[in-house]
Every structure is written in structure tokens, then in C-alpha cells.
């Protein structure tokens, strides 16, 4: 069976700085893959490469067996339409009310788009009363949920989550994690999440991969995360300062 997303030898550098140094990764259809890794390890760049927002320097990205790195123009737009993405800060359009944010990618009459927006808001546990509010009137957790409703509104085949729980309190973070898990299962969506929140990774993931210095250093099932036998994963999962991952700090 071909993987839904297959990344091979993906490289990207910005000037002299190598961000992705040969990424190999496969995600099966309907699977929830979580990429863990510290800040600045290239997680966001990798997702943006797959989404076609950033052009990689080398390597291949195949979705349903089809090479997508060379896509341009209308073909690229059609490809991008298959994805939904939850951005780290929500990235809601602050000039538009909530319902128009949620229904942004949908066609049809205003009434039908509004109904669809309220439908999707309900899926993330929000009532119709928020539909006419502006994003700036919402708390951080509510913004994330609206952004989630917007990401699923067009029923994408693949959903990306960029640090879905960053900046939320632990309870709201768990609400978001539950929502993501439920949505992925119910809508049968292939999901790729990047996070450094281990609680989130354990809840969302079927499989976990660890990114370090632009490479995947480990991948495996969520269940073996604690017994991976990989020193990088061990250090990250347990949040230790000592280990093979050295923070670039100046000595005191």
C-alpha cells in the first residue's frame, strides 16, 4: 500500500543555515503522525514544504504516490486545496467575523455558508452565538477552536497542526487534544502534527517521529515512546537538560 504522504531526502537551507538535512518520513492514510522536536529543529519548515508554501532545495514529496514538489499555478492550488491547516497562532482573519472565517473556503450563498460555519463550530464545541463575534473578541483557546473549525470546514483529506496547544492552559490544551483526536477519527482524516508538548503528542498520535538537526532520528508507535531505546527521544520525552541534545548556550 502506498503511503498517503511520503517524504524522501527532503532538504532546505536558508543561506548557509541548513534547516532540513534529508528528511525521510511516511504517513499512512487515516493515521495520526506527530513530529516532536525542539524549537528551531525545522518542524514548521517541513510542514510548509509539504504544503507547498516553501519550495524545498532537494528531495521528493509524494502524496498518494504523486510527486508534488514541482507543482505550480493552478495545479499547486488544487493540491493545496486537499489540506487543512491549524496555524500556531490561529491565523484567523481579524477583519472578518467568526462565521466568515470558518466558511472562508466554502462556496455557495451567504446563508448556506453561515449554516455550514455554525455546523463546524458545533463540531469544536462552540455555539452559534460566537458566529458574529470578531476573532479579537475571543480568548486564545476559543480562537484555536475557531481556527480548527475553519481548517476542517472544507473536509480536507489531510490536516496539519502546528503546535496546537502552545499558549493554552493545560485544561484547554487537553480540550484541543481531544477535539483533534475525535475529528481525525470521525472524519477519517490523515493528520500530521508538530509539537513539543509531550502530553499532546501522547494523546493525538498513532505514531511519533522525532526531528533533530534537520533529520528524523527516530520514529515508532506512540506506545513505545517511553521505551524507545533512543537517547534523543529519551532526553526529549523526559525533558532533561543532560543528554545528546545540547542546547546552544554560552557557558557561565
Amino acid at each position: 500500500m502506498t503511503a498517503k504522504i511520503a517524504v524522501a531526502g527532503l532538504e532546505k537551507h536558508f543561506g548557509p543555515k541548513v534547516v532540513l538535512d534529508g528528511i525521510d518520513l511516511e504517513v499512512a492514510a487515516g493515521e495520526s503522525m506527530v513530529i516532536i522536536g525542539g524549537s528551531g529543529t525545522g518542524k514548521s519548515v517541513m510542514i510548509k514544504c509539504i504544503l507547498g508554501l516553501i519550495r524545498p532545495d532537494a528531495g521528493s514529496i509524494r502524496v498518494d504516490g504523486q510527486e508534488v514538489t514541482g507543482l505550480r499555478g493552478a495545479a499547486l492550488a488544487d493540491y493545496q486545496a486537499r489540506f487543512g491547516m491549524l496555524f500556531q497562532g490561529g491565523a484567523l482573519f481579524d477583519s472578518l467575523p467568526v462565521w466568515r472565517n470558518v466558511s472562508f473556503a466554502l462556496g455557495g450563498s451567504a446563508a448556506s455558508r453561515r449554516a455550514a460555519a455554525i455546523d463546524n463550530l458545533a463540531r469544536v464545541g462552540m455555539g452559534a452565538d460566537v458566529a458574529d463575534l470578531r476573532p479579537s473578541e475571543l480568548s486564545g483557546g476559543m480562537q484555536k477552536r475557531v481556527a480548527l473549525a475553519r481548517a476542517i470546514a472544507a473536509r480536507p483529506e489531510i490536516l496539519f497542526f502546528d503546535e496546537p496547544t502552545t499558549g493554552l492552559d493545560p485544561i484547554m490544551a487537553d480540550v484541543i487534544n481531544d477535539l483533534i483526536r475525535t475529528l481525525v477519527t470521525d472524519l477519517k482524516i490523515t493528520a500530521l502534527t508538530i509539537t513539543h508538548d509531550m502530553a499532546s503528542a501522547r494523546k493525538i498520535a498513532d505514531r511519533v517521529a522525532m526531528l533533530y538537526q534537520g533529520r528524523i532520528v527516530w520514529h515508532g508507535s506512540r506506545d513505545v515512546l517511553d521505551v524507545s531505546g533512543n537517547a534523543f527521544v529519551d532526553q526529549f520525552v523526559h525533558g532533561r537538560a543532560e543528554g545528546p541534545i545540547q542546547m546552544q548556550l554560552r557557558k557561565l
Partner: protein
């Protein structure tokens, strides 16, 4: 330091500035071409276009109008003083209308709109860039060039000529007000002379200038906003760069059009 090394350093510095300049022009040209080629084909966003026409055109009316009115008055006063030296104070209406319609109306109107609009565009689009809203547009089946940039540029090109017509009219009116109220000109004679020296060619060149200025204002606002990075400070830089570069392009293109139209 030996003179050869000094010279070499100077040449290297000069060379990198020139390369940087050409690089910037290239990126800008590519941005402009991308927008123009995308605008040829749908989807179009008429609601966005209408909103931008309102923001750029209608809401700029007060500031553009006041600028023209005050400048027209001041211009008439100075022409009167200068003209008196040669016994030619009667040239006030003719020189005022020529000065306003050919140069000051479009240039000052362009500069005021650039200050108002290029900055606002750069700040808005720049904030959308750094908060990933532009990336979000792409993932929501919407081309940011068509949705954000295109309507702003088309709106600016369409409304700037109308704004400059208003600017010209109010500039001439400012001169007329001052001349009739303070300098003792006869109102009917003043307007008569104004009409006599108001040439269609001047008005049309004025509107061509306005359209060109509108293009540069929106292009600079969008370009700098679109390529901003680095949080609030980056958006601040983008806003400043948008206004400064729009000012320079307005003044430079004005000079070029003036030389082509009037000195040929």
C-alpha cells in the same frame, strides 16, 4: 592602509550596493508581474475591490482636498508677490491653474495618499504575513495575490485620477479664494482667465500621472507588507519602507512624465 586596498574596498562596497539595488528592482518587478498576470484570470474579488476603492478614494478626500486648498492659496500668494516684481501680478490665475493641474495637484495628492494608504497597506498585509494569515489564505483555496494585492492595486489606479481631479479643482479654488478675498482680483475675470488657460492636455496628463502614482502607492504598500518578516519591528520597517519608496517613485515618475509630456 595602502591606496590600492582602499580603492578595492570602495569598489567592493559600491558593487554590493549596485547588486543589491538591481536585486531589489528584480524582486519588485517579479512581484508586479505576478500580480498583473494573475489579475487577468478569475477568480476576482469585486467586494474587496469596492472596499479598497472606498478606503483609498473616498476616505482620502478630506486630506487631499485640504492639502490642495491650502497649497493653491499659498501658491497664488507667492505668484502675486513674484509677479509684482515684474509688473505681472495679473498672471496669478494662469500660473496657478497651470502649476496646480500640471504638478502640484497630482504630486501633492499622490504624496498625501501615499502617506495614508501605502503605510496602512504595508502594516495590514505585513501583520497578516507575520501572523501567518497569508499562509492561511493559501490553505483556504485563496490566492493572496488575487485576494489581497490585486484589488488594492486596481482600486488605487482607478480612484487616484478621480482624487486628483478633486485635488486640482480645490487647488484652483484655493487660489481663487485668496486672490479674490485678499489680493483684490475680480472673481469673474479670475475664473475667466483660469478657464482660458485650463487645457485638456494638462488635465489628461494630470490624470495619467495620478494613475501611475496610484499604481506605485499600492504596489509599494503591498510589496513591503507581503515581504515583511520579524514580528512587530519587521512590520514597522515595512511600513516605513513602503512610504519612503512610494514617495521617491512618485517624485521620480512625475519628473519623467513631465519631461516626456511638456519638454518634448
Amino acid at each position: 592602509m595602502n591606496p590600492v586596498t582602499t580603492l578595492a574596498h570602495a569598489l567592493i562596497a559600491l558593487g554590493s550596493v549596485v547588486i543589491g539595488l538591481f536585486g531589489a528592482i528584480g524582486r519588485l518587478a517579479r512581484f508586479a508581474l505576478t500580480v498583473l498576470t494573475r489579475l487577468v484570470r478569475p477568480p476576482w474579488y469585486p467586494a474587496q475591490l469596492f472596499e479598497q476603492m472606498l478606503v483609498i478614494g473616498y476616505f482620502s478626500l478630506p486630506v487631499v482636498g485640504l492639502t490642495a486648498l491650502f497649497t493653491g492659496s499659498a501658491l497664488a500668494q507667492q505668484i502675486y508677490i513674484g509677479g509684482s516684481l515684474f509688473n505681472a501680478a495679473s498672471t496669478v490665475p494662469a500660473v496657478t491653474v497651470i502649476g496646480i493641474v500640471r504638478e502640484l495637484g497630482p504630486v501633492l495628492g499622490g504624496l498625501m495618499v501615499a502617506g495614508r494608504v501605502a503605510s496602512a497597506m504595508a502594516a495590514e498585509i505585513g501583520t497578516m504575513r507575520v501572523t501567518e494569515q497569508i499562509d492561511a489564505l493559501t490553505t483556504l483555496r485563496t490566492d493572496p495575490y488575487r485576494y489581497l494585492v490585486g484589488p488594492r492595486i486596481v482600486a488605487a489606479v482607478l480612484v487616484m485620477p478621480l482624487l486628483v481631479l478633486v485635488s486640482n479643482a480645490l487647488g484652483v479654488m484655493g487660489g481663487w479664494l485668496l486672490a479674490t478675498q485678499r489680493l483684490g482680483f475680480n472673481s469673474a475675470a479670475y475664473l475667466n482667465t483660469t478657464a482660458q488657460y485650463l487645457k485638456w492636455d494638462d488635465v489628461s496628463s494630470s490624470m495619467v500621472k495620478a494613475a501611475v502614482f496610484g499604481f506605485f502607492i499600492a504596489l509599494m504598500g503591498c510589496y513591503h507588507g507581503y515581504h515583511s518578516s520579524g514580528g512587530a519591528a519587521g512590520v514597522g520597517r515595512a511600513t516605513t519602507n513602503a512610504v519612503v519608496s512610494a514617495f521617491i517613485l512618485i517624485l521620480l515618475s512625475n519628473l519623467i512624465i513631465t519631461v516626456i509630456v511638456f519638454a518634448a
